[in-house]
């Protein structure tokens, strides 16, 4: 199994600012994903972080709002840009090895926008 860490674990930000969340996997993974989870709700896939190329976004999510980087096979960042209170949520990254189908999640970043 892969161990995934995220930084920061939580943050409180002001409206209109941006926050970059880091995700580190302890081993190389084929794919990395970013999810959003409203408190008490399910997980919604934001995008697939592609190594060396632009991320692939799901319907309702755009690159200008959620730019993503993945410079190598173990690291990715998600930026939440021009934040509003509606962006208050838990942001989770996951890693998928590709062979066993198993997907592992980080502990999440709890974001509050005031």
């Amino acid at each position: 199994s892969a161990v995934i860490s995220q930084k920061p674990s939580r943050d409180i930000c002001q409206r209109g600012t941006s926050l970059t969340i880091q995700c580190q996997v302890d081993s190389q993974v084929t794919m990395m994903f970013w999810y959003r989870q409203q408190p008490g709700q399910s997980l919604t896939l934001i995008a697939t972080a592609n190594q060396g190329s632009e991320a692939t976004y799901e319907s309702g999510f755009v690159i200008d709002k959620f730019p993503i980087s993945r410079p190598n096979l173990t690291f990715s960042t998600l930026t939440v840009s021009n934040m509003s209170p509606e962006d208050s949520s838990i942001y989770l990254c996951s890693g998928w090895g590709g062979k066993s189908y198993e997907q592992y999640f980080g502990p999440g970043t709890r974001l509050t926008v005031t």
């Binding site: 199994s1 995934i4 084929t30 794919m31 994903f33 709700q41 399910s42 997980l43 919604t44 896939l45 697939t48 319907s59 989770l92 998928w96 590709g98 189908y101 198993e102 997907q103 592992y104 999640f105 980080g106 502990p107 999440g108 709890r110």
Partner: protein, 115 residues
């Protein structure tokens, strides 16, 4: 986009009892159905998963039952313990081959095990 319907929304069970959570999916490009367990303030943890070359998979007190013709799968927690109190999510792969690795999650079931 894949829809995964999960029920019940919440469940209260006495210690030693059986918790049963059900999920139904529409279509999938790949056959792989995991269950995740999530405690408050933590990320989802992979609990158990099935690839439906079998209809049932058991790991300790946790069992997945799968009915491919009905497009349904369920999680059974036997001898439920207070430490099992958590939110459980089922998931299913996407419907197209370019959704490789992507998961669609059910709404979640909050399980409370009373002493």
């Amino acid at each position: 986009q894949q829809q995964v319907k999960q029920s019940p929304q919440s469940l209260i069970v006495q210690k030693g009892g059986i918790s049963i959570i059900n999920c139904a999916y529409e279509n999938t490009a790949f056959d792989y159905f995991p269950w995740y367990q999530q405690f408050p303030g933590k990320g989802p943890a992979l609990l158990i998963a099935i690839r439906p070359d079998v209809s049932e998979k058991k790991e300790g007190r946790f069992t997945i039952s799968f009915n491919k013709s009905a497009k349904q799968f369920s999680l059974h927690i036997m001898d439920s313990q207070p430490g099992d109190s958590a939110t459980y999510f089922c998931a299913a792969p996407g419907v197209t081959t370019d959704s490789w690795g992507k998961l669609q999650f059910g709404a979640g079931t909050q399980v409370v095990v009373t002493p």
